[in-house]
Symmetry: C2
Subunit: 526 residues, 2 copies
């Protein structure tokens, strides 16, 4: 399980480290040496005495004591390596990059099992095998690139797929998203998504911990553990977004083995996420967009002021927000008139606030001031500002950076001219900003985040279910069908505190209406 | 209306042209001079004799005869300028960039009306006012940047919003999308989206015309004309995608003046697009994605082979396709086994075809060969290939370029590592390729394109409606409700050729079931 040797090792050996940075063993060593890692680094490579300036031992037996081992050698050699390290070298953290284990065949699975057994026996931690490694604020133990900018308030990211992780990091970096840690857990032989969540939960410090967690998951093997720690983190003020992929195949399998839609694993995932207050995402772009939104202060209400120099995107954002139950309220009154008088003729402040293609940074400042101080109905601002190709917009982007830092209401910047004002955008990102390239993707994602149900309280009141009364109603149904009125009055009473079933001491939700009536034959159902 | 002087002028004057390329008059002159334009260029600028190397006249009266005028001066001076050009200089094409017309106030609208009157009186063409101009293969008459790569088989793009147009061009250029023409029609005082469609339709040449049309529209003022030319173009083999924005506000207005959902303008737009076979898009990113899909051969069936070196994105693409009614059929049999034998151990060919992070360009070639020649059930291939950050992938992207050019089935490339293998992607785009950055956006958009209904045939058969019989059925309903059986047998007969209502000679669709039964009160409806 996750320990200090894994998180912040004082010494690291790369077994299979080489000068060839096109291979995992070479790339992970380069990344380690270029990272904030300040401890001792060693290499095991039978053919070299020095690798990338680091002392190389020909065998693992020759190594000194070492906290953490990153292993990039063929699967068949891993067991021996782990054995020597665990038993003789005091190694308590293992990152096995190598493939060829349980994902490949039965022999691989057996090998994997033996490795876990050894590591468990010494109280060690294992990431992998078949993974791309991990990145913490203390060191880079992954072979992937690009390496994201580290920030203690950045994203904690756990992924079941290393390639997916790096593709999301690549996407996020372009948008200015920072990362605090990245765990690509591979086969999750010992540490999986659930265990990393457990660690985040149990080590959570309201002062120093990052509050943003992203997950890419293909299977949730321990739903209770997952729910426990995810919802605990959300209750502590964290915000979690996750992709759970494989819905279509899972749906197909479910259909062949179950009958009811409620039994579909994908619906179960939805329910699990809803209970935990997790924003479920559909793909990399949406996950990166949610991460960007998470890096801004939380919206306190659903009303957005759309501020723009370009009408079309503002109309599209209005559609995206209001079609998704967000508000774009009309702005009027003396304060609105006062603002209008500070803008060029032809501008509009009714929301969208359109200050025209010729609008200046100074005018944008007036608009943001008014939204922040004068328009109480506004909860957040979306500023769409690209370029039709006339003049540089450095001053506008600088003003946006400054207002984002000093404002109370969130200001979401949408920058559509990635190609043309690229330098301005890069400068904005270097100053620590996060931007969104497409207003419609932003708008519908903001709505999704805003409307994600709050996490279920720890002591959620349970509905009272009178099983005997329900059974009686069902038994009274002569032909297997029940009229709606019979069901509603059957045995269900509104939620009340302290009421629970006592079977096994476990609280149970009894979903409404799960009365076993037949639904074939076209008869009306309750 | 659109004429040769607008499309391919032998001489162009920029009225208000200057050396200041940060202003429209300077920027449009620079763009014109850098474009393929080979004719005479003039400037009118009272303060200069030479502007950007071009002879400048102090007044419009001093100009020689000139085909086309691009006007970038204050609105109040435009009428006189147009008058002199139209009556004395033989000018028959006008592009008015200036704002301050009907979009601003009543006086502006009056000015605009007078300008149109003059231009109409000499049979001239007018783009604008309040627009960013137009770009054809002959010349660049727009002030916006970046300027897209021109290609006779590229996209024809008509936009009611200049800023939106350039943002979409910027996005599209990054993905490798080429353009044949861009019309930003501004206030559409004379030439609007409908007129440009009319021109595309009437000038369509199966040999030379581009077959891809993109539209950004905020209002459809002439739906009959729009439908006529859009559907005619689609019947001629064109593919059209469009954003019609303002759906939410329009929906709101509709709700206050109408009662039924069928009366909603947004539903009317949907119906119009469906009849014309137009792919309706939700935002810039989706429109650019559809444009990218349009640049590939049309899918002949819905079955896709997903080819990847990264499992996660392949799972997400499988979800996106199969959740949207596309097929990701299982691939098996001797040919599949033969293919598997050519890949590294641990690869999978069942679809997704996963040839692992270590997969080579040669192996990708084997896979594409098999999909093209051996797997008859496959209609197209999606290749997801990024980089976990190890080695360059120039060879893989070059192979994809070559196969796209020479294959019969479409190959859609999804490149997730925009930051890390940027150079490879740029090279791919320079070779003429179009790629997609996100597999989920690609997958759901491909499904949308594939499932867009075909254009309605020119002589679509009409259903027969026996109004008298229907009236009789309704009159027989004692309490205002009708049972489903009564409605179905009432007066509706299946579609048949040559059957139409004769009222006014206009064909009319009679929507099914629009029997005025009440729907309040919770009673079951048909």
């Amino acid at each position: 399980m996750i320990n200090q040797q894994l998180l912040n090792p004082s010494s690291v050996v790369v077994v299979g480290g080489s000068d060839d940075v096109y291979k995992p063993g070479g790339a992970v060593l380069r990344n380690l040496l270029e990272s904030p890692f300040k401890g001792e680094a060693y290499v095991v490579n039978p053919k070299a005495d020095m690798v990338q300036g680091v002392k190389s031992y020909h065998t693992v037996e020759e190594l000194p004591q070492v906290d953490c081992a990153i292993i990039a050698i063929a699967a068949k050699f891993c067991l021996h390596t782990v054995e020597v390290l665990a038993r003789e070298k005091g190694t308590r953290a293992f990152v096995i990059l190598s493939a060829g284990f349980s994902e490949e065949n039965h022999e691989g699975a057996e090998l994997e099992r033996k490795i876990v057994e050894i590591i468990d026996s010494v109280g060690g931690a294992l990431i992998g095998p078949n993974c791309t490694g991990l990145l913490t604020t203390h060191y880079n133990g992954s072979f992937t690139s690009p390496v994201p900018q580290l920030d203690p308030k950045g994203v904690d990211f756990v992924s079941g797929s290393g390639a997916t992780a790096i593709f999301i990091v690549d996407n996020g970096m372009r948008k200015g998203i920072k990362f605090n840690s990245v765990y690509a857990v591979g086969n999750s032989a010992q540490i999986g998504v659930e265990e990393v969540l457990e660690y985040y939960d149990e080590s959570f410090d309201p002062e120093t911990s990052s509050r943003i967690k992203l997950l890419y998951i293909e299977s949730i093997n321990k739903p209770d553990k997952f729910l426990k720690h995810a919802s605990s983190l959300v209750r502590k003020g964290c915000r979690i977004a996750a992709i759970k992929s494989g819905s279509s195949e899972a749906g197909g399998r479910a259909a062949s083995s179950h009958t009811g839609a409620l039994a579909s694993p994908d619906i179960a995932v939805d329910a699990l996420f809803r209970k935990a207050g997790i924003v479920r995402c559909n793909g990399r772009e949406e996950l990166a967009t949610v991460a960007g939104i998470f890096m801004y202060p939380e919206l306190k209400g659903k009303n957005i002021a759309i501020i723009t120099h370009a009408g079309g995107p503002a109309v599209m954002l209005t559609d995206a927000l209001s079609n998704n139950n967000m508000g774009v309220p009309h702005i009027e009154g003396p304060k609105a008139d006062e603002l209008l008088s500070k803008l060029f003729g032809g501008s509009a402040v009714g929301n969208p606030i359109d200050f025209l293609a010729t609008g200046t940074a100074e005018q944008l400042g007036f608009i943001l001031d008014a939204c922040e101080n004068d328009f109480d109905e506004i909860d957040g601002m979306a500023v769409i500002f690209g370029s039709p190709g006339l003049f540089p917009v450095f001053d506008v982007y600088e003003l946006i950076s400054e207002r984002i830092k000093n404002g109370k209401k969130p200001i979401f910047p949408i920058f559509p001219s990635y190609g043309w004002v690229k330098k301005e955008i890069e400068e904005f990102v270097e100053r620590g900003g996060v931007y969104f390239p497409d207003e419609v993707i932003f708008g519908s994602t903001l709505a999704k985040v805003y409307h994600t149900p709050a996490v279920q309280p720890e002591d959620a009141p349970m509905p009272c279910v009178d099983v005997a009364a329900i059974r009686e109603v069902i038994n009274a149904a002569s032909d297997g069908y029940l009229a709606p009125a019979q069901i509603h009055n059957g045995g269900y009473r509104p939620r009340q505190r302290g009421c629970r079933l006592r079977r096994g001491g476990v609280r149970r939700y009894s979903p409404r209406h799960r009365v076993p009536t037949r639904d074939e034959g076209g008869r009306p159902r309750a």
